[in-house]
């Protein structure tokens, strides 16, 4: 079960990502619990498996228009499916990796696994509470989902 302080680590990581990468802060809403094991899933999802002292999954899911604008803000000119898939994986990887500042080296993260389109492949475990951190950036909405034992 995650504490409020642990959840705050991911909220701060999300804020920091958009500030540094897009030079434009995102608004992060109040985290809430996933209902029925089926969180909102957008067209692109980057998933990181967590092992070590904590186990679980962290994923970032975002719609295509948001990723298009985010890539443009990064100066990227190739607004391809491949780069959008790459970007959701990199966001999930960066926020999870930054969490080691608070969780320590035993918070072991996998390389990103990306799901494009097939939303049924994105689920959260039944036996662990999963938190959704809503992210609003410009006129777009995305979610960071954190599920840790």
């Amino acid at each position: 079960m995650m504490s409020d302080l642990e959840l705050a680590t991911f909220v701060e990581g999300t804020t920091r990502y958009f500030e540094a990468t897009a030079n434009q802060a995102a608004t992060v809403g109040s985290p809430y619990l996933v209902q029925n094991g089926k969180p909102t899933v957008h067209e692109f999802t980057g998933m990181i498996s967590i092992a070590g002292k904590r186990r679980g999954v962290v994923y970032f899911t975002a719609p295509r228009p948001m990723l298009t604008v985010l890539l443009m803000r990064m100066g990227e000119t190739e607004l391809t499916e491949e780069n959008m898939a790459d970007l959701v994986g990199e966001v999930a990887n960066t926020i999870s990796g930054n969490a080691r500042r608070d969780f320590g080296k035993d918070f072991m993260i996998s390389v990103p696994q990306v799901v494009a389109g097939d939303t049924d492949r994105v689920t959260t475990p039944d036996n662990v509470r999963s938190f959704v951190i809503p992210i609003n950036w410009r006129s777009h909405a995305a979610q960071l989902v954190v599920c840790l034992e």
């Binding site: 990502y17 540094a20 100066g75 780069n83 960066t94 999870s96 990796g97 969780f103 993260i109």
Partner: protein
């Protein structure tokens, strides 16, 4: 050669660089945002194994190195590159922001550590710091 001439040559020295990161957009971002005329990006690699193979054929002067990558991670790769060329300058560019990881990378032979996410200014400063250490 006078000391002044040698110093001037040091300041004009060109550095060849390889970018190693499993993310294509990060490799392109580093190349795009690099604002140091003395550095020329001559190679990229999507994981540590490819980086080692590329480095054997073309032992560049500077490497930016991600840590979490498939096939061979950045820590192992740093060790192998330093074995091949002990004076290679390696800037680890990683999201893993705990002190233990940074210390491990430096112990294996990296010369600097830049935490993702980074701005273009932070990237330039980190690389300039790396080059200053080489002079």
């Amino acid at each position: 050669m006078s000391v002044a001439t040698a110093q001037a040559e040091d300041l004009n020295r060109k550095f060849k660089m390889m970018i190693c990161d499993d993310s294509n957009i990060i490799r392109r971002k580093i190349e795009r945002e690099l604002k140091i005329e003395r550095i020329e990006v001559v190679a990229t690699a999507a994981n540590g194994r490819i980086a080692v193979e590329t480095f054997k054929k073309n032992p560049v002067d500077v490497v930016t190195m991600d840590i979490t990558m498939p096939e061979m991670d950045g820590i192992e790769c740093v060790e192998k590159l330093v074995d091949i060329k002990p004076d290679v300058l390696i800037l680890v560019v990683s999201a893993l922001s705990d002190k233990a990881t940074a210390i491990e990378a430096l112990q294996k032979g990296a010369n600097g550590f830049l935490c993702k996410p980074f701005t273009d200014r932070q990237l330039t400063e980190a690389l300039e710091e790396l080059l200053r250490g080489a002079q």
